[in-house]
Symmetry: C2
Subunit: 192 residues, 2 copies
DNA sequence: AATGCTCAGTCAACACTGTTGACACGGTTC
DNA sequence: GAACCGTGTCAACAGTGTTGACTGAGCATT
């Protein structure tokens, strides 16, 4: 909402051409399903019914396409608003909720694509805007910004290790237990 | 130490041929310096003075080469032995210590290469053997294994976000502060 | 001594990747 | 009508990981 000029539109906004939206949609689905590396531009183009070169024409590069299409928008913001004493557990529970598979798929794809610097810095920036700064603003005590970064680091680690710690097949009870335990650990950084 | 048969030697052990050791050494250095994706097999081969095909001949694939050459062996084990009440901070402090750049480089390369499944499962296995099981064995209460996995998740997240939270240029004081804060959060899962 | 066997090492090629340049079409503006 | 611009297409590029056919040396067996 910062600037509504005529270029650099979000790929799924109304200003984008149908082709761009088709590419963005196919890219999003394939990135989430197969990860950054395994989803090739040619495959994305084919799924969108478009020439591979056109994907690059519109989005510049694979890195940029990924960064523009994969994200976690305003998912976290609502859960930073409630009582501060339980925000850790609420964040974790939200992230692990069985019905939020797509959020996890996006988040996981980004975390796993960290080998690409462009993706990394874009991700860090999103995290800062959408989580760290908002959370830090509500915290009190010393090093609020640092502690908020560490909270985000914990969430990243949880997603990275989600397979080892339960995975998509975990029961709701298991998820709740992880949310309780990990949420408490996160909370230690928010209200020590 | 499980089986000392004549094949499947560790690439830097005495049983390996000089060429294999040269490849392993070059691969390690390049992987740590440039990351998994940016270090090509042809580049590694050139640095080792060897034909690229020979690298594959000896190590099977790039994934396997990476998994065999990059690791964090017994780095964590010693710090799991001391008093249990401060193991969180000691682990974190050790991981962030300014003189342990190479450990961080290895760890970071692995975490960032998570887009490759082979690397991921190998990493998870190492984590289980070298950290989770040993830590879990010392813990008491419910869900010790799950909680130990969550500890490892926190360390992964810290490495993943290390740039955002200080990075290699952080002062020793900053590192100590992170170790104190993050260590306390980790500790919450070990001795709640 | 001659044979065969294994294994390190080499070379050219494969299929695939992301990306680019030259070109064609269609609509808008002068 | 002419010049332009953005969308779309095609073939090609350089680079990637990987493979198959080949050489050659050392060693064992007959």
């Amino acid at each position: 909402m910062e600037h509504a000029s005529d270029d650099e539109q979000a790929p799924e906004a109304e200003g984008a051409t149908p082709t761009q939206r088709a590419i963005a949609l196919a890219a999003r689905e394939l990135f989430e399903a197969k990860g950054y590396g395994a989803a090739s531009i040619r495959e994305i183009a084919k799924a969108a019914g478009v020439d591979p070169a056109l994907v690059i024409r519109h989005f510049g590069s694979k890195d940029e396409l990924f960064a523009r299409v994969i994200g976690f928008d305003e998912h976290f913001a609502p859960h930073l608003d409630g009582p501060l004493g339980t925000v850790g557990e609420r964040l974790t529970a939200y992230l692990l909720d069985a019905s939020h598979t797509q959020l996890r798929a996006s988040f996981s794809a980004i975390v796993r694509a960290a080998d690409h610097e462009r993706v990394r810095v874009e991700f860090q920036d999103s995290l800062r805007r959408l989580l760290v700064e908002k959370l830090s603003a509500r915290m009190s005590g010393d090093d609020t910004l640092l502690r908020a970064w560490l909270v985000s680091a914990q969430l990243v680690g949880l997603i990275h290790s989600w397979d080892a710690v339960g995975g998509e097949s975990a029961t709701p009870e298991a998820r709740a237990q992880v949310a309780r335990l990990y949420g408490a650990a996160i909370q230690k950084l928010i209200t020590p």
